[in-house]
Symmetry: C2
């Protein structure tokens, strides 16, 4: 099933079928192709070609008296070789830029907006998976005393992710104690990844004895972060899923189950992480959703890869548009938040 074996004409016909099916979601007949794409050959000829393409596995006939629809392989080939490279429309670009024109500081805020705008522009459900915190490097730890028995632990990482957690202690704490403990902890943890941090088996160093309870609490929290392999998942535009007629109740059930168990979704999306775009069509051994396609791209922010962003839609997804949008947005965001200056920036 090498694509190289396809004649020019077969390619043109196959692309025609995919393009038409993406727009109309109904099987395409030889007559339709003849009318819209070919002046010079007859529908009978096209029928022969269609028959050959079906033989090769690129097309499927739902039943004898129906036209053809593309197979998974056709979509894969389409994504690989036939993508139109039309630029994004002005309104689309305006929509994207508008979403990011305000000030914003926190990653969560940026991510939410990104999810929203991806869904708005593509008209598919968007999904963003942020890498688990234990894969990033600790830049600094801050301890803040809240009251006599509680301190707030703030974790700052190299890509700016901030997590905080309240620690409750049996012993009393005061400002000086917390400050000293903070210095001590930073000496130990700064520069390591969370997953590198282990509870030391033997004795705690002499000069740590005073901070033992606090120290153990912090370690326990970091370890629990490391253990909980759950990446954070954001979604938007879930209702868009039902705008596509092939998404019947059964498919929607699968979809909602994926939505519920976000860990599985994160696994699917982070599976092949080394390529720029990941396109998963239909359900296979490695996961996915039947009758659906999942397209994701690396999600860069401030020059760092912080996760993956993409969409979930029907197999006959408008791959071209989705990829252009993802490319545009991830590029825009890769630049937008650099160097600590988070004021508005033009995206050109």
């Amino acid at each position: 099933m090498k694509a190289d074996k396809l004649s020019e004409r077969k390619q043109k016909i196959l692309k025609a079928v995919v393009d038409e099916y993406i727009n109309n979601a109904s099987p395409i007949s030889s007559g339709e192709i003849k009318a819209k794409y070919f002046d010079d050959i007859s529908s009978a000829t096209i029928r022969n070609e269609l028959s050959a393409l079906e033989e090769m596995g690129y097309l499927i006939q739902p039943h004898t008296s129906a036209g053809r629809i593309p197979s998974k392989e056709a979509y894969a080939l389409y994504v690989d070789r036939f993508l139109d490279k039309q630029p994004l429309r002005k309104e689309e670009i305006a929509l994207i830029e508008n979403a990011f024109k305000d000030r914003f500081d926190e990653i969560e805020d940026i991510v939410r907006r990104t999810a929203r705008v991806i869904s708005d522009v593509t008209n598919y459900t968007s999904v963003i998976v942020l890498k688990n915190i234990n894969k990033v490097v600790l830049k600094e730890i801050k301890l803040i005393d809240l009251d006599q028995h509680t301190v707030l632990l703030v974790i700052i990482t190299d890509s700016g992710i901030i997590r905080d957690k309240v620690i409750t202690l049996r012993s009393d704490v005061n400002l000086d104690y917390v400050r000293d403990a903070n210095i001590m902890l930073n000496r130990i943890f700064a520069g390591k990844t969370i997953s590198e941090i282990k509870m030391p088996d033997g004795m705690i160093e002499e000069n740590m004895a005073e901070f033992r309870e606090l120290y153990e609490s912090v370690i326990a929290i970091l370890e629990s972060y490391a253990e909980s392999a759950e990446d954070t998942v954001y979604m938007d535009g879930q209702s868009k899923f039902l705008e596509y007629p092939e998404h019947d109740l059964k498919t929607t059930r699968d979809f909602l189950q994926i939505v519920d168990t976000k860990e599985r979704l994160a696994e699917i999306i982070e599976d092949d992480t080394d390529i720029e775009f990941s396109v998963r069509i239909g359900k296979d051994e490695k996961g996915g959703i039947d009758k659906c396609a999942i397209v994701t791209a690396k999600y860069m922010l401030n020059g760092k890869e912080i996760g993956h962003a993409g969409v979930i839609g029907p197999e006959r997804m408008d791959y071209s548009k989705v990829m252009r949008v993802l490319k545009y947005i991830t590029k825009a965001l890769g630049e937008i938040a650099d160097g600590g200056n988070n004021d508005k920036k033009r995206i050109d």
Copy 2:
């Protein structure tokens, strides 16, 4: 349509119809009721009663040769007067207790678990709306210097909610500066609700001049919190929505749209906030989802009302069970995290 006018027998019949419909989702015939609920009267008599109940608006006949199904009014009456008060089953209680047996410190963590367990036990989609932060009282503000131009603002409220936001400044900052600013800001803000805080029209006090930029940033952030009326919404078990046959594609579309626009959901749920349970059946002028019921209860934590928790399901929801579960859980959580000691507690 006063319920008082209903004879004992009518009430028993009406309850029978609702109970049966909750279990089977198909119209109930006079013969069925006779078989399962009455030995002493004939189906003809029951037919007469059914006819009367239909006349009164409590029952609906989908078509002439079908049995009856309950109307919205029947459900409302059912919730009002007919609820079984069977206790929760052992397994259900075990499930709930198990979900909360670990240590946990952060509200978000508790809320997520609560959403999960409500959905698991009831088998409906759960939803929790946390009150907007601007309705709660500021307990303390913490400033932490991150680097030369950025400080982290941590907001601690009376119910323990913590929000943080990074502030970027043009001028340099250092430890002393931040500490002094922190003391100053707490003097001004502590004890107020976020919505009370307003940017002062005239001059900033003399001794604030030094902290002007920081001060204005903090005010701006608090105001933006106050303005953004969005309450935080958590959901779980969305896929459960499709386990009920009356939830067809159209209803699911409505449901997913509500899921997408969580603000609207928050509005619906926070609408009638003064009663212990809110039961909204079907769609009316004030919102809701067609063919669905939304049941919510006040969500207490640590003695404070922090929002609402509930479920979304079909109109023929198992109201009795849902209310028992919500009562049990909100009661359990009202006790579980009191006094800063977050260790395991028995729920009895």
